[in-house]
């Protein structure tokens, strides 16, 4: 990690006073993450340059991670080298007084704008060189962000950033303190409540006026939405309430279908079919985080509701969303969440009247579908089964979707209406079900509805 601060203010060596560092020596500081050095490669009267070097201990950085996820990429990473929040931490410690805008020897200088040239490298520019410009230029900097090449000579995501301008040193440092982590957007420690305080303390003065204020707050606090809103509310307190765009990380499928709000339609329709079937028990196969379960809970006829999913994480979220086992949640034995897979017959589903597979089958490899069929239609004995899946015919109507592409990266197939009907009819015939197929969502004259839905009854 490399940061240099140069000035041509005369005498330039006053920079040493402002930073409280003697230009003739190497200043070494111990940090939790390693060491930092401040030294002056140039210390003349015309130009003086101070360099802050960070030496991060790569072994300590990953120590203790062996007990967690176990991905190789945690062990070898750019944290020891790239400018990141570690640099902000070091800045705050090594140049504390300068950041506070005080100077024992040169207070008037600390209070005045001086010509500065600052280089940070390598700076991960998540969001591109253009974002770098948008972040620094409004603050009065002339920005040069040169992309660094990889060893293979291709462009990398890192830039060597040089900003030049006439500013107060304390302001310059506070810009760096906030904006380096914003560009890196990969903070080395967990975002906590005091982060909002830190952000406002360091950026309060200029941040509220910054045109990229939202981006900065959001990225600084790394999408921790609650914190982000808290910070933004405090910044915007005096301004009229502005609608904040919902920017939760979206799945591609959700992006494609977002405007249409089809998922709600599908779930409502599936719940309605279950209700009409007269079932008193139901299994939501592939229940995810429990959106359909929540609808099914509202149907008083259902005495037993099973949510089945293969992902333990989804089941945990579903349990939280439905408040299982909490006051205000459903009655103790009405809902059970089970880990299970549709390719494994499961005696725990026995005796359940109805089943829903909402947007599930397209996540299963085609060669496993016969197993799913045997389990769901053959052995489980459901009297009503609702299956929904995307209608591939409709995909041509999506602007963002190239021909032949799927709506979601985990889809293993998407069927046209004819393909779905063929499959459903064969399944119904083999297992003695009657079949009805309908579309969900406003149908297009030629391409049908967004989603196709089949009801199997026996």
């Amino acid at each position: 990690m490399f940061l240099s601060i140069a000035t041509t203010h005369q005498p330039a060596t006053d920079l040493g006073y402002l930073l409280m560092k003697h230009p003739g020596r190497v200043h070494e500081t111990e940090h939790a993450f390693g060491r930092s050095y401040v030294l002056f490669p140039e210390a003349g009267a015309e130009r003086c340059e101070a360099v802050l070097l960070l030496e991060v201990d790569p072994i300590e950085l990953v120590r203790g991670r062996g007990q967690t996820e176990g991905l190789l990429d945690q062990y070898v990473n750019d944290r020891p080298y790239a400018a990141s929040s570690l640099l902000s931490v070091a800045l705050n410690r090594v140049f504390r007084t300068a950041m506070a805008g005080t100077s024992r020897e040169r207070q008037p200088l600390a209070d005045s704008a001086i010509p500065l040239e600052i280089t940070v490298r390598p700076l991960p520019a998540q969001g591109g060189a253009e974002l770098v410009e948008r972040l620094f230029a409004p603050l009065g900097w002339q920005v040069t962000a040169a992309a660094l090449p990889t060893p293979a000579g291709t462009p990398s995501r890192y830039v060597a950033l040089t900003i030049a301008g006439t500013l107060r040193l304390a302001d310059a440092l506070s810009h760096l303190y906030v904006l380096i982590p914003v560009l890196d957007s990969d903070k080395h420690y967990w975002v906590g409540d005091d982060e909002v305080e830190k952000l406002l303390a360091k950026g309060g003065a200029w941040l509220s006026a910054h045109p990229e204020r939202d981006t900065i707050a959001r990225r600084y606090l790394k999408d921790r939405r609650k914190l982000y809103r808290a910070a933004l509310d405090r910044l915007a307190a005096a301004e009229p309430e502005a609608e904040i765009e919902d920017e939760a990380p979206l799945q591609p499928e959700a992006i494609v279908e977002a405007r249409l709000n089809t998922h709600d339609l599908r779930l409502d329709r599936a719940a309605e079919i279950i209700r009409q079937s007269g079932a008193t028990s139901v299994a939501d196969l592939g229940c995810g985080e429990g959106k359909l379960l929540r609808r099914l809970l509202k149907l008083p006829a259902l005495g037993r509701i099973l949510g089945v999913d293969v992902s333990m994480q989804s089941l945990r979220r579903a349990s939280e969303n439905l408040k299982l086992g909490l006051p205000g949640g459903p009655k103790a034995d009405r809902v059970s969440l089970l880990q299970g897979a549709l390719t494994y017959r499961d005696p725990r589903w026995a005796g359940t009247d109805a089943a829903a597979l909402v947007e599930v089958i397209e996540h299963i490899e085609p060669d496993r579908l016969p197993a799913v069929e045997a389990v769901v239609f053959g052995s489980a004995g459901f009297r009503t089964i609702v299956v929904t899946t995307p209608n591939a015919d409709y995909n041509v109507l999506f602007d963002g979707l190239s021909a032949g592409a799927f709506r979601h990266s985990d889809h293993r197939f998407e069927w046209t209406r004819a393909q779905f009907r063929d499959w459903a009819e064969a399944v119904a015939a083999r297992h003695g079900y009657s079949l009805e197929i309908e579309g969900v969502g406003e149908p297009h004259a030629e391409h049908g509805a967004l989603t196709q839905l089949a009801v199997f009854r026996r």
Partner: protein, 849 residues
Amino acid sequence: MSVLDIPDFSLVVLIGATGSGKSTFASRWFLPTEIVSSDHSRALVADDETDQSATADAFDLVEAIAGKRLKNRRLAVIDATNVRAADRRRWVELARRYHALPVAIVVDPGADICIERNRARPNRDFGPAVPQRMVQEIRRGFTGLQREGFRQVWRLSSVAEIDAASIDRRPLWTDQRQDQGPFDIIGDVHGCADELRLLLERLGYRIDGSPEAPQVIAPQSRKLVFVGDLVDRGPDTPGVLRLVMAALRDGVGYCVQGNHDQKLSRWLAGRDVKVAHGLEQSIEQFGRETPEFRNEARRFLDELRSHYWLAGGRLAVAHAGLKEELIGRGSGAVREFALYGETSGEIDAFGLPVRLDWAAEYRGKTTVVYGHTPVPEAEWVNNTIDIDTGCVFGGKLTALRWPERELVAVPAARVYAEPARPFLAAADALTGQAEADRMLDYADVGGRRFVDTELMRRVVVAEENAAAALEVMSRFAIAPQWLVYLPPTMSPVETSTAAGYLERPEQAFAYFRERGQASVMLEEKHMGSRAVIALCRDDQVARRRFGVIGDEAGQIWTRTGRAFFAPAVRDAVLARLRQAADAAGLWDELGTDWLLLDAEIMPWSAKASSLIAGQYEPVATAAVDSLSAATAAIAAASAHGVDTGGLEARFAQRLDRAIRYGKAWAPYAWPVDGIDDLEVAPFHLLASEGAVHFGRDHRWHMALADRLAEAGSGLLTRTRTLEVALADDSSSAAGCQWWEELVAAGGEGMVVKPLDFTARGAKGLLQPALKVRGPEYLRIIYGPEYDLPEHLERLRKRGLGRKRALALKEFALGHEALRRFTAGAPLRQVHECVFALLALESEPVDPRL
């Protein structure tokens, strides 16, 4: 003195007033653990044996305990007054639920005795009325006990009788576990007397005497077991009956009852039965028989048992099969199932009942042999086999030899009857086992698992690991039919103390030398991605042997069970491999039409390009840039007189390492445009038809791999090897030098394996392989500057125990999966091992090892 003969598996219900001496009687003849007492249960739930308010809960507890005992096929005794029919109904139902015989024992010493005894006991101050009423009620209900469902009713009506009575336990008629055989189990005969005689002769039995009074003489100590349906449809039902009756009379056979046998016996007894399904032939043939024979046949058929449990419990024979929870038990449901199987109540297109496929769901350890449903070939499905091969329909009469598990068959002389449903299958159909295997059961993989392996005995999988594996298996893995193996993880060597090294060959040699190995095979470690390759001669073999449903004639998967390639590339790679196997003549030599290979596929970048672009390249870029800038700044400061101490040299050293890091993966990365850019290096031939090759040494495996590589065009590549004699210092030194040259030339390193594929030492199984990675390769793993002395020193302290324990368990599981697969075990048994292996892989272990 009266002896009460009761079945050794039954639910004994004691009936007697308070103070009648039930508990004393029970404790004299039953184990304390067999007796479930209502008084004791009251105490368990309410700390007081006489607390009547706890009665309902206490009886729930009695039922729960007795139920669990019956489920485990243990006798249970209900010690409660059980005065009223309503009290007893619960126990009869409980016995039925677990197919145990309900036995009633009435203990009735008279009301006076009961009153007397109660007076002497504390907390029983309810006066004479209660025992009197109880005794009266019991006596009133006595005659109804049979009707209530008790299969045996015993009454002890005085103190003297109670004191003199003794209990004798007898095995159920169906329980012949003491008979170890050997047996010859014969399928449905249906009056095909000629074929039966031929089959018996072929099995080595001699038939003496006259046709009217035959004698069956068994070879050695063998015994016949008939799966029932001796009668109807065929040309000579009386002839068949004479033979079988003779065999049973002479003590050389058993026969279970088939549905046709039962129906004929009812007809012979003059009952009203519908004459159809071949009964008309029997009636016609019996018209020529004497009344004595008819009588004898009726008694014989009527007394046939529902099933037999044989050979120490390892074998059960029933006409239509038997579920695990019914074997060795007795109830109406057992007989119903044994005779008719389980049907869904629906009728199929041929007018026959739709059978539920109990065998597909069978998970028992007891082998079940049955008939009833004609099949073209007798096939093993989940440790069960249907040996009714439709002799009377022109098929054949089949016998299963036990314990040899050998099938012997005699073809039908002609078609005697037309089946209602054609039973000859299409030639290209999946095997019965494959059909049954379409459905795996959550119970086969979920929760905490124990897998018994041949190499290591029991391997335990934690529930949370199984949960993780379920997700991976169902979301990302290839079809379980292909996934018959996953490779074990591989541990590195202990760390070296040599300056500048984290890993060196010496420690690998020491590991195997100290554990008694004479020599090791060093194999070049290709830097690619591990792949398991199932190669079939054609797609038919794939369907038949692996039970897959697609058209692919093989599959290639990663070490976590994902498809290695998109289908088109996979098929192209498999085609090349198939040509190589053809040219090397492996199919005939190994007597197989499929091979399972363990291989490395290069380049690494083919699978790891996103890791390189997303992780390794950025690190190199950042490291080189930041250290270059720092080095320049330090040099500039020094130049104008600042004392930078050792900083300049230190940063120069760091920069040098960053630059080397940026080059570390270059040898393993190249662009892939088509399969000509790929390399496949096989190094184990894991299995082929009927054989797991874990018994072959690595010379054999490498020789085969070399032959494949030579026979293959392009794609296949060789693996360099060197054998090292561990007792010979110069040989070990040569091994070290070989490794040094390998890694100096940009190689990843090497794998050191004991010469024997499966090697054992004094403390059990040895690591099947240890990896020794080169210093530059380790830079990719541990980071650019890992070999700075202060870093290396800390990295040397790494624990390998967990990794090695995992490697052994996974090795044992992989072997077990293949052992089961090659033995033709049901998919779930193979899948269980592979699933467990995948589950173990979710254990948190330092991924740098």
